[in-house]
């Protein structure tokens, strides 16, 4: 089993190298989405592109979207609880030596914020509403 996995990994790397050198892409096809960083975020996943974010990309996104990470906030303990819950009930394997760095990344960049019992109204997009009629009248 172990040697099979090693073989597959080797095969995988070979294929990657071969593919990386191939130029069989039609010139008119849209370019593949490459990993890059826009406004500090990994453009493919929206993860904050600092620290060990690539470990998170490599270990967490096979089963769920990065959005499940980026929309959440938790302490180190909270993130660890979620990982253990995924391991116990959702089939996530042991993360081995990557667990520490992954939890560090999550606890650092997706830490809880204090919002109190009623957060402020934020990110309001202002627009002009005419007295003549709201946008809703057509819909009701």
């Amino acid at each position: 089993m172990r040697s099979l996995r090693h073989f597959l990994l080797l095969l995988f790397l070979v294929v990657v190298l071969v593919q990386a050198c191939s130029t069989d892409e039609a010139p008119s096809a849209p370019p593949p989405r490459r990993e890059n960083i826009v406004d500090g975020l990994d453009s493919l996943t929206g993860l904050i592109a600092q620290g060990d974010y690539r470990l998170v990309k490599g270990n967490c996104l096979a089963c769920h979207s990065a959005k499940l990470i980026t929309q959440n906030r938790a302490t180190r303990e909270g993130w660890l609880d979620m990982i253990h819950w995924m391991q116990e009930t959702q089939g996530l394997p042991d993360l081995g030596k990557n667990e520490g760095p992954i939890v560090d990344y999550l606890a650092t960049y997706y830490a809880p914020e204090e919002t109190g019992r009623r957060p402020p109204l934020d990110s309001v997009e202002w627009y002009i509403l005419s007295a003549a009629g709201g946008q809703s009248s057509a819909e009701r």
């Binding site: 996995r5 597959l8 990994l9 095969l11 995988f12 294929v15 990657v16 593919q19 593949p32 989405r33 490459r34 990993e35 493919l44 996943t45 929206g46 690539r54 470990l55 990309k57 490599g58 270990n59 996104l61 096979a62 089963c63 769920h64 979207s65 990065a66 959005k67 499940l68 929309q71 959440n72 906030r73 938790a74 909270g78 609880d81 979620m82 959702q90 089939g91 993360l95 990557n98 809880p112 914020e113 919002t115 109190g116 019992r117 009623r118 957060p119 109204l121 309001v124 997009e125 202002w126 627009y127 002009i128 509403l129 005419s130 007295a131 709201g134 946008q135 809703s136 819909e139 009701r140």
Partner: protein
């Protein structure tokens, strides 16, 4: 070895992958797909998660009295069936469980033919709607206000079907459902979610096995071709892609009936408290709530100080008895006009005409009160570990210039 297409290779290539080589067939690294994750849905829905698909509806898109199929939120726990059934009329629903003498199977065609059809407008709200406001934060999809909607549903009464299966009224305690979605891990033996309701709720007139939403077949993401509907409870009791109903002689113990899932502390706890599983109780009726759907937040009034407002109000049992609004952060409240519900569990519509006293920044807060005198709180109500049942007042921002 699983097939990996070129795009997946390129994106996997640069990563310190320990997991990629073990990817089961058909599972890629997420966030890298380009297909529309919300087929049939309004483009302005907010996607919270694309695997599993979870998307909510901005308040102003819920202004319709009957929620359009393209605007009903999506809260999936697993992966919807890959493709719709070739022949939906052959879709099978099995009735089983300890309180059924022997399992019975009905096809969708049989259900339609054999039982009386009923149409109700039924509110469906995710138990975690409003989770985003929890502090300390609660894990899970960070729903704002839009995991709710109220379409018209057509189907047969669960009661009629259970009676046809000759269920044992004395033995029956609970019903539990099973559906044909797939676990995120891809493991076909894992149940995604299997919840249900107490037998009394199951036998209510409005508890339906439904195939139509607003006169059309259910949207694929909302359970096509068949789903359960038990309005007033968290939407997770209303199973999608419905394949089996178990009539249980005990409280149903399916996936996501235990632990912290859809359960809250039996006794109120301090924010951030750790709560043992044995001290958690299943959520039943949802609390009274309302949503301001018109105008959209952020309206600037330049040629008037008068503003018509409108929205909906609902609760998990009984009815909403009044809705008030405040433009002074709850120091004073004014009554809104409020309609009666189309039927039990349909949301009610409120409206008012606001006269602003002068120019400035205002927040309009809406507050519904149920027929037991319980009002929406202005602040987060009881904290709970998973962030359920936040029915704090909805509010929008307005400027009069």
């Amino acid at each position: 070895m699983p097939y990996l297409n070129r795009r997946r290779f390129l994106t996997v290539a640069g990563l310190p992958v320990v997991f990629a080589a073990r990817l089961p067939a058909g599972i890629g690294l997420l966030g890298l797909e380009t297909e529309d994750p919300l087929p049939g849905k309004h483009p302005d829905l907010t996607i919270l998660n694309d695997r599993p698909v979870n998307a909510e509806t901005p308040p102003h898109l819920l202004d319709q009295r009957i929620t359009g199929a393209d605007r009903l939120f999506v809260r999936n726990n697993g992966i919807a069936p890959a493709s719709p059934p070739a022949d939906p009329s052959a879709w099978e629903l099995r009735i089983a469980g300890e309180a059924v003498p022997e399992p019975v199977v009905f096809t969708l065609a049989e259900l339609k033919q054999r039982f009386e059809h009923h149409t109700y407008q039924l509110t469906l709200e995710c138990g975690g709607n409003g989770r985003k406001e929890f502090s300390p934060p609660a894990s899970g999809n960070q729903w704002s206000t839009g995991a709710v909607g109220c379409p018209e549903w057509t189907g047969v009464r669960l009661r009629d079907v259970l009676e046809a299966a000759n269920f044992d009224r004395k033995k029956a305690v609970y019903v539990g459902y099973y559906g044909r979605d797939t676990h995120l891990s891809g493991d076909p033996d894992k149940v995604v979610i299997s919840r249900g309701v107490p037998i009394a709720k199951a036998l209510e007139d409005e508890t339906l096995i439904a195939w139509n939403m607003n006169g059309q077949p259910l949207p694929h993401l909302n359970g096509y071709p068949l789903r359960l509907l038990a309005s007033g409870y968290p939407a997770s009791v209303s199973g999608k892609w419905l394949s089996e109903i178990a009539v249980r002689d005990r409280v149903h113990d399916g996936e996501k009936m235990g632990g912290a899932s859809y359960r809250v502390p039996c006794k109120p706890v301090a924010p951030g408290a750790e709560v043992d599983d044995e001290d958690m109780c299943i959520i039943e009726e949802m609390p009274v709530k309302s949503l301001l759907t018109s105008p959209k937040t952020g309206a600037i009034l330049s040629d008037t100080k008068t503003l018509p407002i409108a929205g909906h109000a609902w609760c998990g049992s009984g009815a909403v008895s009044k809705v008030d609004y405040s433009i002074d952060f709850g120091s004073t409240w004014q009554a809104c006009a409020l309609t009666k519900p189309a039927n039990r569990y349909a949301w009610q519509h409120f409206s008012a005409q606001i006269e602003f006293p002068q120019e400035g920044y205002y927040e309009i807060w809406a507050r519904a009160t149920d027929d037991q005198g319980r009002a929406q709180p202005m602040v987060l109500p009881n904290w709970n570990p998973r962030g359920y049942l936040n029915n704090a007042c909805h509010r929008i921002a307005i400027k009069v210039v």
